[in-house]
Symmetry: C2
Subunit: 728 residues, 2 copies
């Protein structure tokens, strides 16, 4: 237990801290194709397999790792049995739960294949079957262009590649942008549409601790669920049918008999969503100095507005409960990210790293010039473009919230934009979000507004957002907004009162009748809120155009920055992984304890003792009696951790993860499945920007806990046998 631990920036001067924080030995969300390049480092970390066997995402073992719902999962038998998180499969569990049989609370064990339950129709499992570099194809038309033209050329090439790829109807395709426009990859995925629920523990195991323990180590949660993928009798993806047969995956993982100890090698594969690690020093500064503080401030103001609107109105409190919870979560996340970046002194460290990179690669300080003069020019141009984006950031944040935090105005904006996009004959050319495949989602928004809207609350939300907008510098304001709302609080109030008193869009039927017109590209029947939306959408399109122009320039210029980074890291003997973008990645590291604060140290392994300690009998700490009885019974033979003399539950590693890694399989040095990723600690919320090895941890279900539950508490011997495990 290290008594002395590195501390915050303010302490750095006084405490003579170790400067090792930038070493980042375990940082990295590697593309599988990169693993042969870092094989030596993996071996030194303890890996006992062959790194080149991991390089092909379409071959075992990585072909066992799939995208499941919003997260990750892995096949664990040759007959399509699929392991993921309880929270990733929660929609499936909910879909099969009813008042008569509440399987959310009670859990579910299929009584044989015939009893496996279909998932909600939009639930998907994606098996990656192709991963090819298409950089030249994507950039061919873009080269020589700038700004919006560069953006459109890349966008069009991507859409064309996807359309060609999907022509056979056998696979779903996408184009992934690696290293910010440096490389592009075409990804081909089987879309499994018949996925069934096989085994889910009760909520009070699968989600033990819920929001209270979320992001909090130590955890004591059995956050796992087993599904099974089915295909048609021809072996091809198919909609649900009783005739379908289990899918034979290209590979499946073997669950280990033993577990890991502090310091042991661990690795993880999954589909992490988005990170910002390779953003520029100026972007780090903007995030910490402006974006996050503004986000916290505007969420605070929105929370206050919604709470005030509901203070004396139970009906409004009910309608806005979900939105309020979401606002609070977003506020908490932003504050946590800000706190973490400050704690890690990320702005200073990223700034020093970038300055050293530029000095080392552009020929300053007498070092050899690793970057061409053109690249140096591009990097300077990139900095200028990022300055423009920074200036527009506060406005863009407010515009986004105007569209996302309102119900009726959001509906009107959607209808107006849908009308405009639908007027284009070519569905594929329409803006993402307004194509035919998106109509169901839009209709859902238009319908749900009914249960989530109150005029006074929506006006309060808009008063906050437009009120802050009115304070922006002249250069950032949009004429259409000024025309609609004026420049003073009084004019804003008058405009809102007038529009909301007269609009009829509060009626669901009124919204749906416009929807029918909008999706057909026809003019919409008059309404004051639609008239306002027409003004605002025109302004949004202008802002969007400016944004796409800036983004085009970034797409064109960032590769120069990345080349400098590659050269700089090469000088340091380090490889560079691309920032996360929802594609399959591998990270490796080890089981590691956490000492997040002065005098506080957390062991990397929790045990069933902690379940009993936390148990209050009240949700979310209401462990089921069979679990409590089994813990008291103490029969952990075959699944206990010998060094602890009891049953392990969760464990902690320093693996590099972010949102999307939920359900990622954690493998030991021999590639066996030892854990299931499901959470991270609060201190690592800022890791999407900055990996601080002192604080970044990932939280996993120990597979021995799953095995013990399935053997002794809620037995499923056939499933254990199917996974090649002792039935008890």
């Amino acid at each position: 237990m290290p008594l002395r631990r590195p501390a915050t920036a303010a302490l750095a001067a006084g405490l003579a801290l170790s400067a090792a924080v930038s070493a980042h030995a375990d940082e990295g969300m590697w593309m599988p194709t990169q693993l042969p390049d870092i094989a030596r480092a993996m071996r030194e970390a303890g890996f006992r397999g062959r790194a080149d066997a991991l390089a092909d995402v379409t071959a075992p073992p990585l072909s066992a790792v799939v995208k499941v719902g919003g997260g990750t999962g892995a096949f664990v038998s040759g007959e399509g049995l699929l392991l993921t998180n309880h929270h990733v499969a929660y929609g499936v569990i909910q879909y099969n739960s009813s008042a008569e049989r509440n399987i959310i609370d009670g859990g579910f064990i299929a009584e044989g294949r015939g009893d496996e339950r279909p998932s909600n129709p939009d639930f998907r499992v994606l098996v990656t079957v192709g991963f090819d570099k298409v950089t030249d194809e994507v950039l061919a038309e873009a080269r020589g262009k700038t700004g919006r033209a560069y953006f459109d050329a890349v966008d069009a090439a991507g859409k064309r590649i996807v359309a060609e790829c999907e022509q056979s109807g056998e696979v779903r395709c996408s184009v992934a942008n690696m290293y910010y426009g440096t490389d592009f990859y075409r990804i081909r995925q089987l879309e499994l549409r018949d996925v069934r629920l096989v085994y889910a523990p009760p909520r009070a195991i699968g989600n033990y601790g819920d929001e209270i323990d979320n992001f909090m180590w130590p955890r004591h949660t059995g956050d796992f669920t087993l599904l099974r993928a089915y295909v048609g009798r021809d072996g091809k993806p198919a909609d649900y049918s009783a005739d379908n047969v289990p899918y034979a995956p290209p590979a499946h993982l073997q669950i280990a008999r033993g577990g890991l100890h502090a310091g042991d090698y661990a690795m993880l594969a999954g589909y992490p969503g988005t990170t910002f690690r390779h953003r520029t020093a100026a972007e780090f500064d903007a995030q910490v100095a402006r974006v996050l503080p503004q986000r916290v401030a505007v969420f605070d103001a929105l929370i206050d507005a919604v709470e005030t609107a509901g203070a004396d109105a139970a009906d409004i409190r009910t309608r806005y409960a979900s939105q309020l919870q979401s606002l609070k979560n977003n506020r908490k996340r932003a504050a946590g990210e800000l706190e973490g970046l400050l704690r890690s002194d990320a702005v200073r460290l990223r700034g020093e790293d970038e300055a050293a990179m530029l000095a080392a690669t552009t020929g300053d300080h007498g070092r050899p010039r690793a970057t061409t003069g053109d690249d140096a020019t591009d990097i300077a141009a990139l900095q200028a473009i990022l300055g423009q984006a920074d200036a527009a950031a506060a406005r863009d944040q407010l515009l986004t919230l105007v569209a996302s935090q309102t119900q009726l105005l959001r509906s009107a904006l959607l209808l107006e934009r849908l009308r405009i996009e639908s007027a284009m004959a070519d569905d594929a050319a329409r803006e993402t979000g307004y194509q035919q495949r998106d109509h169901a989602l839009i209709e859902g928004v238009l319908r749900q507004a009914q249960r989530r809207y109150a005029p006074s609350a929506e006006k309060a939300v808009l008063s906050v957002l437009v009120g802050r907008y009115q304070q922006l510098p002249d250069a950032q304001r949009l004429p259409a907004f000024d025309a609609a709302f004026g420049r003073t609080p009084e004019s804003l109030k008058t405009a809102l009162d007038t529009v909301y008193a007269r609009t009829t869009l509060g009626e669901e039927a009124e919204r749906l009748s416009r929807f029918a017109d909008a999706r057909a590209g026809r003019p919409l029947a008059d309404d004051p809120l639609l008239a306002l939306a027409a003004q605002l959408v025109a302004a949004q399109l202008d802002a969007e155009d400016a944004r796409k122009t800036r983004e085009g320039e970034q797409l064109r210029l960032r590769p120069a920055y990345m080349r400098a980074l590659f050269a700089w890291r090469a000088q340091q003997g380090r490889a560079v992984y691309p920032d996360a973008n929802g594609t399959l990645r591998v990270s490796y590291g080890k089981v590691e304890a956490l000492a997040p604060r002065d005098a506080v140290a957390f062991s990397p392994v929790t045990t069933v003792a902690g379940i009993v300690e936390k148990n209050t009998g009240q949700a979310p700490f209401d462990a089921p009696q069979p679990l409590l009885d089994a813990i008291a019974g103490g029969d952990f033979e075959g699944t206990a951790e010998a060094s602890l003399g009891t049953q392990p539950v969760n464990f902690l590693t320093n693996l590099d993860t972010t949102g999307g890694n939920s359900g990622s399989p954690v493998l030991n040095a021999r590639g066996e499945l030892v854990g299931l990723n499901f959470d991270s600690n609060w201190e690592s919320v800022s890791a999407s920007w900055w990996f601080d090895p002192r604080y970044k941890r990932a939280i996993h279900v120990d597979m021995r806990y799953m095995r013990w539950l399935m053997a002794r508490v809620y037995p499923a011997p056939a499933l254990l046998e199917e996974m090649g495990l002792p039935a008890r």
Copy 2:
């Protein structure tokens, strides 16, 4: 960091726990006179001094340890300089703070002796100058009596001894009951009445973390203040006068230059208030099964009633803010005590220990009989008496709350009882609390009711308390209460509505005019609430009589139980300390980490890094800028902990403490002052009943932190020199 830790009762079966929890190596609040008996154990624990030098409370070093306000303190110079907690001296700081010079927030450093500030007039320092066994004198008249007569004989003997002892006018005397009526000691104390403020850190150092960190390890608080005791020019205690001179204490402690490390010997002296460690197994069971759950339930109901009464009335919320906070604190304490006793499985362990004691000492199981037949009879009789007390406990709890949680009824009850007691000519014979010395306190209650009373809230409180009273079994109810309030919720409501609509005691003048009559023993002018109080006081006097009869029996019978315990512990090779009773005690142990929950481990030392980590800029985490600057400056020469390379702040020991130990000096193996006790961890709230070595810790200010603050942050070189320390 121990991964495996003993767990709760529910786990005991399953986890094959070590049975060592009853060993209690470090348990004990020893009378100094006992220390020679346990000298060997102290030496084995690391003590390097002579235990017999500690046996005399009137000789160095223990004569340096004094009672200060509600806590403890120690002289640290030959000129009356006295070290205690910031929170113990808080009233003194508050008394000297003003809008013009807010020394609570800014701290205070006297600019020389002339600038030392007088304390509030009722602040006292008590120096123990005599400690003599008077058991025979106290029990002479009681022997052969039973019940109320036994109680009265002991009570009268005690009052007589005190009166004789105080006759000289030089000392304040009291009689302390050790081992529940087994022994009695006469304590003589100098009462120093001129105590001045010398040095106090700012609130944000002295109370850093406040209620949020209270009871929470790790802490980062400089909870210390320096006072100075003055006496008249004749060397005798005197009221404040500019002519007074510093008091020359019989001894003072020397502050150590170094600090302690995990495992190092530590000891502590102070005036712990009340513990219940030697209560019977049946009393433990009653506490856990009934007293604490009832307390939690009734506080919950009162909190709900007061909050409901104030829900739509800001005025009521203001008037009841302080009472509500107190109710919540009491509720939290009761719940924490219950949680701790359950976690430690105290009822089972105490029960097993008592059964083994009775078997070993009363001749059962073929062992030699260590307890006389008379004692065995007495123990059986004691158990019967305790059963009666247990049956009356719920009622007595409610009666106490009726008197303490109301404002107007409390005033009426006080007035009526005062009238009755004052009718007795002999002031000393009047019930404690109603003697002339208590009149000022009663008047304070009568006056403060004005700011803290609202009829609807008081009726709500009484509805809860009397409503619960109405549910008691017939045998526990009092005829007068039934007559006053009836037996149904409706009759209760009618009675309360009627009385509160008509009483004029809501007027301060009405209460004070009755006070003038009551203190003179004259009849009180008519009022419906006083008429009610007259009924209830008569009933209370009956209940009090029954209680004193039971207590007399307990005083008579518990010594037999204690003799059995002495014999049983002797067989185990262990000495027995008396339960805490506000007299000077010594405990010894060591610096020890805490692993309170699964996977959670706390280091026993905190550092200034934690101050910066916790700092939010908002109270209670608003460290002063000079402190933050000094931390960043990093000059800790002479006060740093070498093994950590930085400045320590607080540390943790397993020393045995309870309320009243605030400000206790913590000494190292050579008797030097290394720490100042100021808090304990949440898990040890239940230690007043059961010392569980896994969880019981005490929290201390590291004297090196005080020295660093006084040398580098808010310098006071003259005071450091006076304490024999380097001035910087």
